[in-house]
Amino acid sequence: MAGSTIHVEGLWKSFGRQAVLRGLDLEVPAGSITVIIGRSGGGKSVLLKHLIGLLRPDAGRIEVGGVDLTGLSGRALDDVRRRFGVVFQGGALFDSMSCRANIAFPLREKTRLSAAEIRARVEASLAQVGLEAVGNKYPEEVSGGMRKRVAIARALVTEPEIVFFDEPTTGLDPVLVNTIHQLILQLHRQLQFTAVMVSHEIPEIFEIADGVAMLHEGRIVEIGPPAAIQGSSHPVVRQFIRGEPEQG
């Protein structure tokens, strides 16, 4: 696989008088795991919501999977979205359904698989995330880490081409952070999807990312392989990955 799956050019977005994204450019190579880092409130979730067509840009171009998302709506947008998997920051599990039903839902509604096939795929996917035991529980009855894993399983069960993760590990203990990272890495090897992940897990993400992009003041100020970012000379990037307090 070659070329880029996601191509963003000059993306502007304001909420009222607050300009969140200010002419942002981003390239995500096909089949890679690209991690977006940046200050809390910096607009990472807003960027992700543009990539999945939940927010519309004020200006700029967004191309995902070879399709120009700007100006797309209705059926056409849905056709692109069928190729996506999304893990929301809070999981966004349907709380009226058991964890098992949550994972089965996209298969049941989006594919023509038989009930038996769906059951088999859901069981396999529960096993993959190590949650065979809690499949029948409801989202509010399982722990935060389990919920994140169910959300990941639900996003990946349809074997999407492009997967978006919004902070899949925030608020989890260090062991679980690594477990989920390994899980994502392993699923990535199996399914070969392109991943865009927002994360605050520094330095853990440097081990799983193919590319790291730093979002600062509405732009990607630096993007490159983990080693390059870790050794960056850009003051903002250096300060951020070392967790130094702001000066002045």
């Binding site: 929301f88 809070g90 349907f94 996209p106």
Partner: protein, 264 residues
Amino acid sequence: MAEPTVPAALRPLETLGRGSLGVVESLGRFGAFLGQAVGAAVTPPFKLRALVERIHYVGFRSLLIILLTGAFTGMVLGLQIYLTLSRFGSEAFLGPAVALSIIRELGPVLAALMVTGRAGSALTAELGIMRITEQIDALTVMALSPMRYLVVPSILAGVITFPLMTALFDVVGIFGGYLVGVQLLGLSEGTYFGEMQSFVDMRDIMTGFWKSISFGIIVMWVCTYKGFYVSRGAEGVAHATTQAVVLSSVLILVWDYFLGSVLP
């Protein structure tokens, strides 16, 4: 986007303009919301299972309160109208008086108000929570229209259950009037039902029927809309729920007056 600053003297005018624009905009969104729902309702795929679940949610779970309020409304009417009529010596008309006021007015209106309080508020809260926990966004990015899965089944359930709830309310109410008028106050059974039969005709029943169907649409439209566009967290959900109940109730009464003056 830097907006030009407004001289201090014109600030109130600016506020007024902003407010009016806000009102027009939300009215437009409110209308477009129903338009989208109708669009999704008439195009496949149809979500029958979701519809059945909603009918259970809106209808079945409101049964008890409908039975209770229906019975007591009928009993109160039986008592009050009996006392009034007896002043003119025309107690014989208790049956039609109770039946007409329930079938034409009180049945549809009170049943709608009760279902609003019982199921409409819960529906707004449920959709609101789905909105703030991004469940609605999750549906959207799965390329599954939340309109089709959440809103259309609720509105259709309203259209189906409101007339049924109203019919139930009517029957129980008329029976409540019978209990008080006949069993307690001693009117003859034949008079109560016989006069009712000769004075109530199909037109009255149809008036009640059209009212209840339109209330079903109004209530579910308002309640799903308020839940669908919740913002600002838990407080937003609470706010939207209150607004949904108040707005539904007001619209029920306004629309009832309008229909009452238009329908035969």
